[in-house]
């Protein structure tokens, strides 16, 4: 048993606690501590990646209580890739926040660490109830981060987010209670083992529990019709916070990708493929509506918010196929869209800071200063999010299209995916020309200060990662495929957690 697995949870926990009590430290010291803790997540994630690359599934039993009785953390390919993404986005948004955002309210850095703690925990946990607990940790930190800097707009948006997510938490607990009542376990591997054994008398209960859970994840991932809160809330947050929130919606997608193939997959007997009828239509609707939202957006920030909805729709089209090719496309697109959307949010904030009068509104305004730098960053970001070659958006979209081609309903999937992509290209092009071309002469470059180097560095770093995703595209896609292979074969996960001999567990169940 390696203790490396719990480090992505312990590091932010310790750093966050120190920062919480070190509120009197100088701003520079807090920044340095927070940055060191976040940066340290990168080597940890890379080490874990090296360990799980060959298909090993690292299981960490807390307190050495053997599963399914104790709490387990499981690091497999999917979990580790998500940890790595979180670390990258975390470092970039913290770097961006260091340009000034973090001074707009107290305790920004402590909250940021707790946010990372919740996200990392949700990716690592191998237990349904701890998924709930980590969801709550990341949510309560996200509420506070959303409010960072305050203002009526943020408070009003935060009320919606908090109330909706509290309802989501209540539903989550109802689902957890139902599943526990039926199966007597909450460990994901144990659930996967018990599910096929359920008789037809209790199977409807398990089905309703599974679908209730799907509803909760849909709310977290902002799927239609539960996603209308997202664009407004994300647009209200500060740039660095919104960039980190790009990971937050992906936690919902991750939960679907983790739980449904494993617990309610092909081999689940009476409850097999319970989500397969629901995810695809909802995903297509979300995709279409997200693209329309991107087109209709009046500001760059709300455009980025709708891009989140759009990307979640695309992701779930891939996940909703419930095939290996679908999972592979989802994993690759997840990496691409998380990085790309974080870059869009940071860039929107950067642009808004440079345009004195118009902010990030897509109106005719004074010419933007430093337009070569900002325009260049915008061009690369736009090409990526619009899914144009040669950048990673194109590869991701191609993988989704290829996966959809093999599945039934390919005509519908292809038309919606392609038309939505066209709509997004139009919207992004329109935004670019509004921001950089349709202008009246404004102040000279020399009259306005250059954008902060740290802020530009954060955006450029994210874009460099996106370019790397294409430059090492062969390695990335083959990793996505092997991750998908692991997801498509739940028996590996079950064996890794419960051990090859699960018979001893029968005794406890017979007592019930």
């Amino acid at each position: 048993m390696t203790h490396l697995v719990i480090l992505p949870i312990l590091l932010p926990l310790v750093a966050g606690s120190v920062l919480l009590f070190g509120a009197r430290l100088a701003q520079g010291a807090r920044r340095a501590l927070a940055f060191a803790a976040t940066l340290a997540l990168l080597p940890v994630a890379l080490l874990l990646l090296e360990r799980v690359h060959d298909g090993t599934q690292l299981v960490y039993a807390l307190g050495d209580w053997a599963p399914p009785f104790g709490i387990v953390l499981v690091a497999d390919r999917l979990a580790v890739v998500m940890l790595l993404l979180t670390a990258v986005v975390g470092v970039a948004s913290l770097l961006y926040a260091a340009a000034g955002d973090d001074a707009r309210g107290p305790q920004y850095h402590a909250l940021f660490q707790f946010q990372l703690l919740g996200i990392n925990g949700a990716f690592l946990t191998g237990d349904l109830f701890n998924l709930f607990v980590f969801f709550e940790v990341l949510l309560i930190a996200s509420y506070a981060l959303l409010l960072h800097g305050l203002g009526a707009r943020r408070v009003a948006a935060a009320i919606h987010v908090v109330v909706l997510n509290l309802i989501g938490s209540a539903l989550f607990l109802f689902a957890v209670g139902t599943l526990y009542g039926v199966t007597g376990t909450l460990n994901l591997a144990d659930l996967a083992r018990v599910m096929p054994l359920l008789g037809p008398d209790v199977a409807p209960l398990a089905r309703s529990g599974a679908l209730l859970l799907l509803g909760v994840f849909a709310l977290k991932a902002a799927l239609l019709p539960l996603g209308f809160w997202l664009p407004r809330a994300y647009a209200a947050a500060t740039g660095a916070t919104a960039a980190l929130f790009a990971v937050l919606t992906k936690v919902g997608v991750y939960a679907v990708l983790r739980i449904y193939p494993l617990v309610f997959g092909e081999g689940a007997g009476e409850v097999a493929n319970v989500a397969a009828a629901w995810v695809p239509p909802v995903a297509l609707l979300t995709l279409a509506f997200g693209a329309l939202g991107v087109l209709a957006a009046q500001t760059l920030r709300s455009m980025a918010g709708w891009m989140v909805v759009y990307s979640v729709g695309t992701l779930l089209v891939a996940v909703g196929l419930f095939t290996e090719a679908g999972y592979a496309a989802a994993v690759f697109y997840m990496a691409h869209s998380t990085l790309a959307i974080a870059a869009v949010f940071l860039l929107a904030d950067l642009v808004a800071g440079q345009r004195a009068t118009a902010g990030d509104r897509l109106d005719v305004a004074d010419a933007i200063p430093h337009r070569v730098l900002l325009g260049g960053l915008f061009l690369i970001t736009a090409v990526t999010v619009a899914g144009l070659p040669p950048l990673s958006g194109f590869v991701g979209k191609l993988m989704v299209l290829e996966a959809a081609q093999l599945a039934p309903g390919a005509v519908v999937n292809w038309s919606v995916l392609l038309i939505a992509a066209l709509v997004v290209i139009v919207a992004v092009a329109r935004a670019g020309s509004a921001l950089f071309w349709r202008t009246v002469p404004g102040p000279a470059d020399a009259a306005t200060p250059r954008p902060d180097a740290r802020a530009v560095g954060a955006v450029a770093g994210l874009l460099a990662c996106l370019v790397g995703l294409v430059a090492w595209g062969g390695a990335a896609t083959s990793f996505a495929w092997s991750t998908a292979g692991q997801l498509a074969d739940p028996s590996g996960y079950v064996t890794a957690v419960l051990g090859p001999d699960a018979a001893a567990r029968e005794q406890r169940r017979s007592l019930r």
């Binding site: 607990v133 509420y143 009526a152 408070v155 009320i159 938490s169 607990l173 007592l511």
Partner: protein
Amino acid sequence: MEALVAVAVGVLTGTGVFLLLRARTFPVLLGLTLLSYAVNLFLFASGRLVLASAPLTDLGLDSYPDPVPQALVLTAIVIGFGMTALLVVLALRALGDTGGDHVDGGER
């Protein structure tokens, strides 16, 4: 007893949902509280209701209360309490910042 608990969960959920649909923050808050009561009661019952038996099992006993839901409920109560407190503060802040207690902000 099952029927009684089920009715209690149902009534709590029903009133909770009704209050959630109001347009002012205070009733919404009460609704969420009632909903979390319902959830806690439901979770508690998910380990089956057992009367008049030892709180812990011993080998040979065939009827004992399941300890896991009790631990889950305890966690859920603590988290629910924290979240409710946060929402109360947030609602008060919204009252101050937007000048009203409408859930969309301001006085409608």
